[in-house]
Every structure is written in structure tokens, then in C-alpha cells.
């Protein structure tokens, strides 16, 4: 294991899940087809390849969608693979009832839920199907990024994803040994930890192991820092995610990017103009040399890199024309040319994607948005001006969710909006986008994301968050001040996005993601539980399972990783910031999360709006 640990980090987890799945497949004899909840298709692909499934007599994988009919195949058993949720269960019941003779089984991802088993019972399906539970482990999205890929609607519910999160940590510990030191911050982390304790009781406590690759685990509640979601992160990967939606490390660029790449390749006469084909799926990972170089770069540093790379490639091609000897030419073509060609293709895709991103951001007036965002974070923004910008966005018919994200930021940085601005914003928003948006606005207010400032508060009243009670999260202005997340002067901000030295580069120097800052502080100075309790309203715990006291700071000479588990999702901006932190301090940081947040989807989930609407 130790030898291929670097190749397949946490590979045991996937291996175990794979074997478990094979066991389920084998327990249903004969040929079968797999009907998979569409949110699980890509995670499944990461764990078990199609060829593996074929080996075990799986004829095909079909997506499970609402009101879809499945082709009628006789003599083939059907296995449903789904997350336990009522909607999917209803769907499965419908399919099962339409063809009761078929041999079928349900594999519940993570576990069967009471609500689902009630639905099965009500539909009379219970007892006619074989049920399995398959605990999906951390899916490796990248060598340092692991996600449970839980749908965002589930992570937005109060307890929906806690068990899965706890179970994943339990699984990890049972395979790799107990993690010596564990820190937890936030209410959700605390709850997950309670469930984990129960799991210890019921399933057994993990043993300490000297091979444990992780020395410190942070369990962090996503909701302690929402600003990182509202702010526009300007790393390449993050922008790609915002605009195209990366899922499980894969992305489907829209038609505009496709068109751009095709235009370029039309210069070659050999390629016949093809009919519009299925959108191409691009794998984004470190095997893509171009992408791995720019993924964490600030957008301002991406184009210089890409053009330098293009020149470099040009040089290599030219070199090919200047060979005197045939043998050298032959050598060049057989060995290097292929590699260059590949890089050329990658470069083409990324330049096109970059251009589209820039076009879109220009059309939406993103540059003034970013300026205002930075002013808001720094606490120097004129709210009237901010809301004026929001109104302009509404009138330009920008995406309502982007407008809401911006206003959320304005609200949380000011502890709510003054009544006049709040009401006029609401009226204009509804006037432009329709009264269908009344419930979303209401739920945002309920969750405290866009709120009315109560008359007693003022924007500069930083201390009030402490009076906010034990259960509530610390307010953003308080956090910014306490953890010094915003730079003190503006000169400090503008330096070095090409070769960043500070985590705040992901937000152009305006803001350091709070969670990353906490991790960095612990790395530098150790875990000061009393200080952190003051910062996060007491919802902090530390646990030591070894003789090293939890307060001591991690030591990178131990060659062990630090794992940061985001309970409720992580953004690519934070991922980039943590990668920089790891790089600067020569630590290895593994990022684990329940899901990777796309900010529009996050807001929709907060508004109880289904993502397909």
C-alpha cells in the first residue's frame, strides 16, 4: 500500500468500495443492467470503470431520471443504484410496479432511510426487492481533493449529510488507522462528530496505526464562512466551475467554446466539417499539462502563461522544420511531436475557454462588481452605490442568482441592509424577474443571508456578534477583523498574482478565506482553543488520540498530511488557497468535502429551489 500511496492517495477506500460493489453485482445472478441516479454517474465512474462492470455481466448503465421510461429488456435483472431520497424512491417504485416480474435489486448509496423504506412499504414494493447499502467513500477528484459528491440540496438540509460525512471519516479511519489529532469548528462539525462517536460505539473504534497518512484532521462547518462563496474567486479553475460547472473533475464546455476551438482547427484542410456532435467531455486534472499549470492561477496570470506556452510550442514546431538529418527528424516525429500535438490541443481548449469566460464576464460588467465586492469586504463601500449597481444588473437582465449572490455579500458585510434599500431592492427584483422569486427572497431572509438591518444595529458595530447568542455564527465583519482576513492597506492587495505569496490572491488580494486562515494559523502557531472559541461562539472542539497534545502545531518533518474536511462543501477558491498554503509551507494538505460548491447552485439550495428549474 505504502508504495502506491502517492499514485492513488486514499486508494484503499475506492478499492474497498469497488469490491463491495462487485459483491452486490455478483449476488444478483445472470445478466443485469444498472440504473443509476444521474448525480451518481460520475462518482460511480471514478470508483468502478465500465470494463469492470462488464466483467460482472452488467450490460449497460442507464441514467435514472424523472418520468423516464427504460427500454424493456427481458431476461435481464435490473439493479437500481441511488442515493436514498424520496423522489428517487418514488421513481424506482414506479418503474418496479410497471414491470413487477423483473428480477431487481436496489443498492442504496450510503444507506437506506426511514422515509424511503416507508415509501417502498406504501407502494408494496418492500419485500419484493433485494436491498443493499453501499457506503460511497471519498471520491478522488484530484490527488489532494476528495469529495463525497453529495447533492447540494441534501447538504443544505439541517442533518441530511451528517451521517454520510461521519461515516466517510469512520471508513477512512478504519482503513488507515485513527487520526491522532482532530479539530472541529462550527455547529455542523460538532454534530457530525457526535454521530461519529455513535458510529464508534456501534461499528467499533478505529485502532491507531503508525501508517496513518494523516496527522491532523480539521472538521469545519462550511457555514462559518459564506463570504468565500459570494465573492468572485478569480482562479482559473474557479471561474471555469462558475461558468461551465465542473463535475467530478470533468467539464462540458458550452457551444461557444466548441465553436471557437473548431474555428481554429478549420485552418487545417484535412478536417472535414462535421455535423454538430455530442458536446465533448473534457477531463480536467493534472494529467493535462496546461491545465495543471494554470488551474490555480489568478486569471490575470493565465493569459500570459498561455501565450508563453503557445510561443514555446511554436518554437518546438519550428525546431522540427530545421532538422538536417533524417534520423533526427524521425526521432522528433516519433517521440516529441505527439506530445506537442497534445499540448497544442489542450492549449487550444483552454485559450478558447478563457476567452469565453472573459467575454461573459465583460458582458455582465464583472469588473465593477469585483471592485464593489472588494469595497464591501474592506468595509468602505457606499451601500447606495452598491445597490445601484445591483439595480443596474437587474435591468440588464443578468442572471437573478448572480444578482442575489452580490446582494447577499452586501447584506452579510453590513449586518443586513437598511430598510429603504432592502425594500426597494426587493420591489425591483420582483418587478424584473417575476413574483416566482418571492419565496426565494423570503428563504434568504429566513436563513439570514439577505436581511433587514434592525434599527439597533449599525454596520460598524463589530461587537454585536458576540451578543448574537451561542448558536449563531459569528458575523462577517467580526470575523474579518478578528482573523484579519482583509488586508490593512490597499498596496498590500495589489501585489503578486503571478507568483502569489498570500492565500488572498484567489480574491485578488481582498479577502483570505476564513477557513483557510484558521488552518494556516493552526499550522503556524498551534491550536489555541480558547481564542478560537471566542471567535466562533464556542463551537470548537479538539480531540487528541495520541500523546502529542492537541495544542501543539503540526510538524512538516513528520511527512504526514493534514486533512481539512469541509462539512457542507468547499469552493475551488478555497481549494486553491489551501494548495498555496501547502506549497508555501511544504505541507501536504488533503482536502475532503461533502461536495464542491458552485455558488449559484449553493444559493438555489439555500432558497429551496430545485436546481433543474
Amino acid at each position: 500500500m505504502a508504495s502506491n500511496y502517492d499514485d492513488h492517495p486514499l486508494g484503499l477506500l475506492s478499492e474497498l468500495a469497488r469490491r463491495e460493489l462487485v459483491h452486490f453485482l455478483e449476488s444478483v445472478p445472470g445478466r443485469k443492467e444498472l440504473v443509476v441516479d444521474s448525480s451518481l454517474l460520475r462518482p460511480l465512474d471514478r470508483v468502478a470503470s465500465m470494463s469492470l462492470l462488464k466483467e460482472h455481466e452488467v450490460l449497460g448503465v442507464l441514467p435514472l431520471r424523472k418520468n423516464a421510461t427504460l427500454p424493456n429488456t427481458s431476461d435481464v435483472s435490473r439493479l437500481y443504484l441511488t442515493r436514498a431520497c424520496v423522489a428517487m424512491t418514488k421513481e424506482i417504485c414506479r418503474l418496479i410496479c410497471s414491470d413487477p416480474e423483473k428480477n431487481k435489486a436496489i443498492i442504496w448509496v450510503d444507506r437506506q432511510l426511514a422515509a424511503c423504506s416507508r415509501e417502498l412499504e406504501l407502494q408494496g414494493v418492500l419485500g419484493t426487492v433485494i436491498e443493499f447499502e453501499w457506503a460511497l467513500p471519498f471520491v478522488p477528484v484530484e490527488s489532494d481533493l476528495f469529495s463525497l459528491e453529495i447533492p447540494i440540496e441534501v447538504t443544505a438540509t439541517p442533518t441530511g449529510d451528517l451521517w454520510s460525512a461521519a461515516n466517510a471519516i469512520w471508513q477512512f479511519q478504519s482503513l488507515y488507522g485513527q487520526i491522532p489529532t482532530i479539530y472541529g469548528i462550527g455547529a455542523r462539525a460538532d454534530k457530525a462528530w457526535k454521530i461519529l462517536k455513535r458510529l464508534y460505539q456501534e461499528k467499533g473504534e478505529p485502532r491507531a496505526s503508525p501508517d496513518q497518512p494523516v496527522s491532523h484532521l480539521f472538521v469545519v462547518d462550511r457555514s462559518i464562512d459564506r463570504a468565500s462563496i459570494y465573492l468572485t474567486a478569480l482562479t482559473y479553475e474557479s471561474l471555469l466551475h462558475d461558468h461551465f460547472g465542473i463535475s467530478c473533475g470533468k467539464v462540458t464546455f458550452g457551444a461557444d467554446v466548441e465553436a471557437k476551438t473548431q474555428n481554429r482547427s478549420k485552418e487545417k484542410p484535412a478536417e472535414a466539417p462535421e455535423a454538430p456532435k455530442k458536446p465533448r467531455l473534457v477531463l480536467l486534472d493534472n494529467n493535462d499539462a496546461v491545465f495543471s499549470a494554470v488551474r490555480n492561477n489568478h486569471m490575470s496570470a493565465v493569459f500570459p502563461f498561455l501565450s508563453a506556452k503557445a510561443k514555446e510550442l511554436r518554437g518546438f514546431y519550428d525546431q522540427g522544420a530545421n532538422f538536417d538529418k533524417v534520423s533526427a527528424m524521425k526521432d522528433y516525429i516519433s517521440n516529441e511531436l505527439k506530445q506537442y500535438k497534445q499540448q497544442h490541443r489542450q492549449l487550444e481548449v483552454h485559450i478558447a475557454a478563457c476567452e469565453v469566460v472573459l467575454e461573459r464576464t465583460a458582458a455582465e460588467g464583472t469588473s465593477s462588481r469585483i471592485e464593489l465586492e472588494h469595497a464591501l469586504i474592506a468595509g468602505v463601500a457606499d451601500l447606495a452605490q452598491v445597490m445601484d449597481y445591483a439595480e443596474n444588473c437587474i435591468l440588464m437582465d443578468n442572471s437573478p442568482w448572480q444578482v442575489l449572490l452580490f446582494v447577499c455579500l452586501a447584506s452579510v458585510t453590513n449586518n443586513g441592509l437598511p430598510p429603504k434599500l432592502f425594500n426597494s431592492f426587493k420591489d425591483q427584483f420582483i418587478a424584473a424577474y417575476g413574483i416566482d422569486y418571492i419565496p426565494p427572497l423570503h428563504f434568504l431572509a429566513e436563513r439570514g443571508l439577505i436581511t433587514l438591518r434592525s434599527p439597533l444595529q449599525t454596520a460598524n458595530n463589530f461587537g454585536q456578534s458576540l451578543a448574537g447568542g451561542h448558536g449563531s455564527n459569528a458575523s462577517l465583519p467580526f470575523l474579518i477583523k478578528r482573523l484579519s482576513l482583509a488586508p490593512s492597506s490597499s498596496d498590500e492587495r495589489k501585489t503578486g498574482f503571478q507568483n502569489p505569496q498570500k492565500m488572498s490572491y484567489v480574491f485578488s488580494g481582498a479577502y483570505t478565506p476564513a477557513i483557510c486562515q484558521v488552518v494556516a494559523d493552526v499550522m503556524m502557531h498551534g491550536f489555541n482553543i480558547n481564542e478560537l472559541k471566542k471567535t466562533f461562539n464556542g463551537q470548537v472542539f479538539a480531540e487528541e488520540n495520541s500523546c502529542v497534545p492537541a495544542e501543539r502545531k503540526p510538524d512538516n518533518r513528520m511527512r504526514k498530511a493534514i486533512m481539512v474536511f469541509f462539512c457542507g462543501g468547499v469552493t475551488y477558491g478555497e481549494v486553491a488557497a489551501l494548495r498555496l498554503l501547502a506549497h508555501l509551507n511544504s505541507f501536504r494538505i488533503l482536502i475532503a468535502t461533502t461536495n464542491i460548491i458552485r455558488r449559484e447552485d449553493y444559493l438555489k439550495a439555500m432558497c429551496n429551489v430545485s436546481l433543474t428549474e
Binding site: 431520497c85 424520496v86 423522489a87 444507506r111 437506506q112 432511510l113 426511514a114 422515509a115 416507508r118 447499502e133 438540509t157 439541517p158 442533518t159 441530511g160 451528517l162 451521517w163 454534530k191 457526535k194 454521530i195 455513535r198 460505539q201 456501534e202 461499528k203 460588467g365 439595480e391 443596474n392 435591468l395 440588464m396 425594500n423 426587493k426 420591489d427 425591483q428 420582483i430 418587478a431 424584473a432 424577474y433 417575476g434 413574483i435 416566482d436 418571492i438 419565496p439 423570503h442 428563504f443 429566513e446 429551496n608
Partner: protein, 501 residues
């Protein structure tokens, strides 16, 4: 299940003649069996027992002692057990009988008085086995009866919740009393896990009256939260709004009522349901803003219906120039205003379909009106009207308009205005663009936008003002050669009167 395991003859623990005989007594938790074993131990105290090492020697004492004992079958059995062993010794058995060992440790052992007469006969041996079996049987029977009785007694709450947590089958139906149910729910809440809480909540909901169930939810917000989530997933809005109302979350209830109303298929049904919802659930003072918004929407839809009826028969040119793609009915306020600006811009201000009337009806402000009307007018290429709507209203506006110098918009930032008037194949007159751009305060801003939108005159002015000849050169090279703009720019460059840096 566990009980089955516990009482298995194969299990060495339970089988009486297996090694670990004493363990059985620990399993039989009832006092009686403990009492028995105590009695036996006591008897054995008096009976002189051999040391385990001496197992091979028979024990006459027990045989002689026995007749004096009262005819207690259990005791008999135990006593004879030793005798049996004495005859057919099994060292393993002896060693593992803790009761015996205890005796050994406590009692100083008298030298055994071996007597052959004490050896039991064959029939005695049978008798012995029989009584042992009978005792075993009784014990099992008692245990079985106890289990049978327990079958319908609720198991321990923590055990039940633990099984729920592990997703193992468990019956909750045995918790009949309200106290038990609440205890079960509290235990579930202490487990934090939503699934466990929900399982208990569903059970309670099924088995208690509605009033009690509501009370339970009110007292336990965690349980209520899970139940609400469950109802949301389930899609039963009616029950959901009920629960919200009971819990005092009337605003949430109103939202779900509203969502339900908006889900109606036709606009007419939607209107009817919205009106009903307004009366039924939007009474909370916290929802007054929403209430006015919905009222306004209902009014808009009414107006839209009137306009729709009138326009559907209208065959005038503008409807053929800009065919309507979607019905107006049900569109938001801004879209309605756009519609009015596009098709009814020239209607008298008192006509119900005029932009002014729509503006009043929807409670829209001046900014929205200007913005939308510019968009609609650009689409129709009505540039003078665009200019008019951009200029300030009233007398001062009229004066400045006539001079044409001070044209500016307070409502739309210039870059967006430029984008707006260049949208959708709009061909704005150069003159208008130049005048608009000249209204910008700083030459730098002016120049940037002028370059972008090819307002050559302004570019020339600004570059001259800022004395940036090079910038003008760059700009000139971008222009299509032999165009009038190109000549103008060249002329400006060649103008010896201008002072460049």
C-alpha cells in the same frame, strides 16, 4: 435474534455439561437460579469435595450426605452431579467448574474416605442423567416463557434506537404509552442522526392524535425540522403548511401556499388561487411587502388581459415588424413595460396600455422606465425618441434639449447605455453617440468609450485635448481605409494647427 444465540446447545456457555457451566447462571438473570446456585455452593461447602487434582478419587462423602438432604430436585441434581463425576471422571469438567474451584479454595479438604459402596450403579447413572436433563429442560422452559412474555414488552429504548441507527429491523409498535414514545424521541434526538429522529417521528405521527403530535413537534424543534424536511421531500404541501401554521411559522406556510398557487396550470387558475392564498395566509404583518407585490401582480395580469384582447386583433405594422413571440399574460412588470414601450409608445398617456399607465400600475420608478424604453426604442430605431427619453424632463430639459449640448442620463451608466443602444443590430446615429459621450466628465473616460464604439469625432477631440497623437494614430489604423472617418482622422493628424506633445 440475540436470544436465540444465547440459548443454543452448541454454545458451550449454555450447555450444562459443557465446560463453562457456571456461565449459565450469569445468563439466567432471574434471582431464582442464582439462589439455586448459591444453595448448591453451600451444600458443596459441607460436602467434602476433592481438589481438582484428585479428580480420580471417588467421593463417598457426597453419597452419604445426600440422603439427609431435603428432596429438592435441583440440589439433588447437583449433588449427584459430583457423584457422577466421581465415577466417570472428566477432568476438563472439573477444572472448569468455578463453583467447585471456589469450594476448593475456601474449604480445607479432608482426606477422602473412599468407599466402593458409594459408587453408583448403572441405573443410578441413568436416573442421574434423566434428572439433569429434566432440570435443564425446566430451566429452558422458564427462559422460553420469560422470552415469550417479553416478546410484547418494549425492549430497552437505547437498544431500539441503536438498532434504528444501524438500520437493523426493529419494531416500535411496542411503545404504547405517550411517555415511552417521548422517551424514544428524546433518545433519538440525542443521537443527532436525522434518519433515526424521522423514523421515530413518523411512528409517533401514526399513533397519536393530531393535537398531541403537534404538541410534540412544538416542544422539540429538531424533530419538527426533520418532519418538515420529510414533508418537503414528499411534496405534500397541505400537511406542510398545516405544520408550519401550528408551529407559528406562518410566513413559511404562506410561502408554500404561494408556491402551490403558482404551480397552477393556467394563468386564470393561478390568479384564483393567488387571491385565495392572499386571504388565507398572507395576513402576517411581516408579509405586508409580499402582499402588496402579489396584489400588484394580480392587477398587472388584469391589465395584461385587456391589452392582450385589444392587441390580438390589431394587425398594424408594428406587430408584423416585431412579431410577438410569447403571450404577454403572466409576464413580470418590467416585461409588461417593455411590451408597452414597444407597441404602445405613442398611445396617449391616459390610455391603459401606455408606458406611463403601466409604470403607475406596477409602481416602477423613473430609472426603470428610462432604461426599458430606451431598450424598446432602440429596437425600433427611433433615435429621436431615444434622445428625448434620455434627456431630463420638464422645462429645463426642453431648453437643454434644444441646444443639444447637455444631453445626459442620470439613470444609466454610460458604458451600459452604450451597450444598450448598440444592442441588437441597432444603428445609432454617430451624432447621438458623440453627444452622449461628450456628456462624460473626464476626457479619459470619454476616449475609452469613444474608441470602443468608434466615435471618431470624440476620439479626435479627446486625443487633441490630451495631446496623445500616438493614440490617435493607433486608432486611425484600425479604421477601414477610405471611409469618411478614416479621412477625418487623417486630417486631424495632418492638421498642423493642432498642438501635439
Amino acid at each position: 435474534m440475540a436470544y436465540h444465540n444465547r440459548f443454543n446447545f452448541d454454545d458451550p456457555q449454555d450447555s450444562y455439561w459443557n465446560e463453562n457451566g457456571s456461565a449459565a447462571s450469569s445468563i439466567f438473570d432471574d434471582i431464582r437460579s442464582k439462589q439455586e446456585s448459591a444453595r448448591v455452593a453451600l451444600d458443596d461447602l459441607f460436602a467434602e469435595t476433592p481438589r481438582p487434582a484428585q479428580v480420580n478419587t471417588p467421593k463417598p462423602t457426597t453419597s452419604t450426605a445426600r440422603p439427609q438432604q431435603p428432596p429438592d430436585p435441583n440440589r439433588y441434581q447437583h449433588g449427584s452431579g459430583y457423584q457422577g463425576r466421581g465415577e466417570r471422571p472428566t477432568p476438563k469438567f472439573m477444572l472448569n467448574e468455578p463453583e467447585l474451584r471456589k469450594d476448593v479454595s475456601n474449604v480445607s479438604i479432608a482426606p477422602s474416605e473412599c468407599s466402593f459402596s458409594s459408587l453408583p450403579s448403572e441405573s443410578q447413572q441413568l436416573d442421574l442423567d434423566f434428572s439433569r436433563l429434566r432440570a435443564e429442560h425446566r430451566k429452558l422452559q422458564r427462559h422460553c416463557e420469560a422470552l415469550r412474555a417479553d416478546r410484547f414488552r418494549p425492549p430497552d429504548i437505547s437498544e431500539t434506537i441503536g438498532r434504528l441507527f444501524k438500520n437493523e429491523p426493529v419494531s416500535l409498535d411496542l411503545y404504547k404509552s405517550k411517555k415511552d414514545k417521548l422517551a424514544l424521541l428524546d433518545a433519538a434526538i440525542s443521537f443527532v442522526d436525522g434518519n433515526v429522529i424521522l423514523a421515530v417521528v413518523i411512528y409517533i405521527q401514526r399513533t397519536v392524535s393530531e393535537a398531541i403530535f403537534r404538541e410534540v413537534l412544538l416542544e422539540r424543534p429538531e424533530a419538527a425540522e426533520e418532519y418538515v424536511q420529510y414533508l418537503k421531500d414528499w411534496g405534500t404541501t397541505e400537511e406542510l403548511t398545516n405544520v408550519f401554521n401550528v408551529m407559528g411559522r406562518t410566513t413559511d406556510a404562506a410561502m408554500y401556499d404561494f408556491k402551490l398557487a403558482m404551480g397552477a396550470k393556467t394563468v386564470h387558475q393561478r390568479m384564483a388561487q393567488l387571491k385565495k392564498a392572499l386571504v388565507a395566509s398572507f395576513l402576517d404583518p411581516r408579509l405586508s411587502a409580499e402582499q402588496t407585490q402579489i396584489h400588484r401582480y394580480i392587477n398587472i395580469v388584469d391589465r395584461q388581459q385587456q391589452i392582450e384582447v385589444a392587441d390580438s386583433t390589431d394587425r398594424s405594422k408594428k406587430f408584423t415588424d416585431f412579431p410577438r413571440h410569447a403571450p404577454l399574460l403572466g409576464q413580470p412588470a418590467i416585461h409588461t413595460l417593455y411590451y408597452a414601450c414597444l407597441y404602445h409608445y405613442d398611445s396617449p398617456p391616459t390610455s391603459p396600455d401606455s408606458p406611463q399607465q403601466i409604470q403607475d400600475l406596477c409602481g416602477l420608478n423613473e430609472k426603470q422606465l428610462v432604461w426599458v424604453s430606451v431598450g424598446a426604442l432602440v429596437k425600433q430605431n427611433r433615435w429621436p425618441d431615444v434622445e428625448r427619453s434620455l434627456s431630463p424632463r420638464g422645462l429645463i430639459g426642453a431648453i437643454t434639449r434644444s441646444t443639444g449640448a447637455n444631453l445626459k442620463s442620470n439613470y444609466i451608466p454610460m458604458d451600459q447605455l452604450m451597450r444598450l443602444i448598440h444592442a441588437e443590430s441597432g444603428q445609432p446615429p454617430k451624432d447621438l453617440i458623440c453627444r452622449l459621450l461628450r456628456s462624460l466628465p473626464t476626457p479619459e473616460e470619454r476616449l475609452m468609450l469613444a474608441e470602443k464604439y468608434m466615435a471618431t469625432e470624440v476620439v479626435i477631440e479627446c486625443t487633441q485635448q490630451m495631446k496623445e497623437r500616438q493614440r490617435l494614430e493607433v486608432y486611425t489604423n484600425k479604421l477601414p481605409p477610405h471611409s469618411s472617418d478614416h479621412y477625418k482622422a487623417l486630417a486631424a493628424l495632418n492638421n498642423s494647427g493642432a498642438k501635439w506633445k
